[in-house]
Amino acid sequence: MVPELRKRHRRIWQIGGVLLCLGFAAAIWVLPKPVPAGQWPGNELPPFPKVLASKTKGNLSFQLRQGANDLKQIEITQQRVMEQTFVQVFCNNALQGVLGPAGVRRFSLSDTLSAEPPYLIELVDGINHKTIHQIVLP
């Protein structure tokens, strides 16, 4: 290789290496809070036995369920797939998971969240950051 070309390679990797590593670190820095384990479509949780409340909005049905130790669970039934590709589910501003294809999705609330009714359920377009639906379960 021509010495001039070797020098160009060296400079590219000296500068590029630093920039890539900084960018890599920045991308990790801005990582969103992880979605709770088991809350991705395909890993459905079993339903809690007792239904406390039900509401319907468009093609979506919402149920508040109660399990052992007074823990709560939100169940969302989608009749059709959502128009938005990435729909996040929040309960009292805490991210619970995402919706997937049509079907039933369940989100178990933490001890703290279970003890804080009423429950404001928000469906948010995760790409455009727009709230699609808001519903309150008692």
């Binding site: 290789m1 021509v2 010495p3 070309l5 000296q14």
Partner: protein, 347 residues
């Protein structure tokens, strides 16, 4: 090395190289598919293809970029360099499958042109977290396409090695774009430590290898310059015994990059830069009486720097003499292909 352009200059080594490459690719795709079906049984076939080809193309690009510094650090990796071109074109093809399936799956069902949709469906260009990462992958694929399309000696000859090399150095930009394509895409979406480790390990390995190779080269160059001593236009290079038979000593004198070859009890000096892709002639060896470039096998005669007929490539030559067993080189170059008498090594 060919007089006329042919689509692919096949030979036994290239066929073997390609067979091994395809074997490893098929093995990877099968393993990936198996693991996806075990851990994510609801994955659709389109998603499976997108993920399998995306990861494979990224790994292949990573591997390709490691070959150069590895070959400079250890000559045992030189065979990997020999047919890197096929590896590069295959990487583009795999990346293209990933890109096309993505556009079909995510952008082809709307009211706007699918390519326009890649740029317009997410407009958070000012946000790092929500950056439209698909755009980065798109531009990386464009660069890989340009490289694959010009990956032929026709383009190398017509663009000139200098411009061709500059164009192909855009691969570093493509790699950077792909790192961020992954880090701002699947990593932001899934926050998986596996993806972070996968990209981070590759990035650190690549940067370290390139910086190590650059350091070794710089040190070698400085040592060559320090050793030389002036005498009547000639520089003392080394002892004739320091050059292994059919190998070379590389020196950098008065801006000239020179390879001094020892063969059949003689020593000759030619320019160290191959006319094909500016490969380091001096890292090659003499095969069948011809200096053979380690990168792609281009050959030159040591006494006149000419490629054996019917080939037409030529190198500059230099005067060499041996005094008391020491090799002296005059760095004033003769025109390409000029015959110069070899210096005889006294027994």
């Amino acid at each position: 090395m060919s007089v006329n352009y042919t689509t692919v200059q096949w030979n036994r080594q290239k066929r073997r190289y390609d067979r091994i490459m395809l074997g490893i690719m098929v093995l990877y795709l099968l393993t990936f598919t198996f693991l996806q079906l075990v851990f994510y049984p609801l994955t659709s076939p389109e998603t499976l293809i997108i993920r399998a080809t995306g990861t494979l193309a990224f790994i292949m690009l990573q591997f390709i970029l490691c070959i150069g510094p590895l070959a400079r650090l250890d000559h045992r990796f030189l065979p990997l360099l020999y047919n890197r071109r096929h590896l590069g074109v295959t990487t583009f093809l795999i990346g293209a499958v990933h890109g096309v399936f993505n556009v079909i799956q995510f952008h082809s069902l709307g009211y706007v042109d699918p390519i326009f949709s890649v740029f317009a469906s997410n407009t958070h260009y000012a946000s790092l977290q929500d950056f439209p990462f698909q755009v980065l992958g798109f531009f990386a694929l464009v660069i890989l396409f340009l490289m694959a399309a010009t990956s032929h000696d026709f383009w190398l000859k017509n663009l000139s090695p200098r411009w061709w090399k500059s164009l192909h150095m855009l691969v570093y930009l493509a790699y950077g774009l792909l790192v961020f394509h992954v880090m701002l895409g699947v990593v932001q979406l899934e926050q998986s430590p596996m993806w972070i480790g996968f990209v981070g390990f590759g990035l650190l390995t690549l940067v370290s290898l390139h910086l190590m190779a650059a350091g070794v080269e710089k040190k070698r160059l400085l040592e060559q310059m320090d050793k030389a001593a002036v005498g009547e236009g000639f520089y003392q290079v080394c002892s004739a015994e320091d050059i292994p038979e059919n190998r070379a000593k590389m020196v950098y004198l008065e801006g000239q990059n020179i390879a001094v070859f020892r063969y059949d009890g003689k020593v000759s000096a030619v320019n160290n830069i191959c006319r094909h892709q500016h490969g380091p002639i001096g890292e090659g060896k003499i095969v069948d009486g011809c200096i053979t470039c380690p990168w792609h096998g281009y050959q030159y005669l040591p006494q006149n720097g000419q490629s054996p007929p019917p080939f037409t490539e030529k190198l500059e030559t230099y005067d060499v003499k041996i005094v008391d067993g020491m090799v002296w080189v005059n760095p004033s170059p003769y025109p390409e292909g000029t015959e110069r008498p070899a210096a005889i090594i006294q027994a």
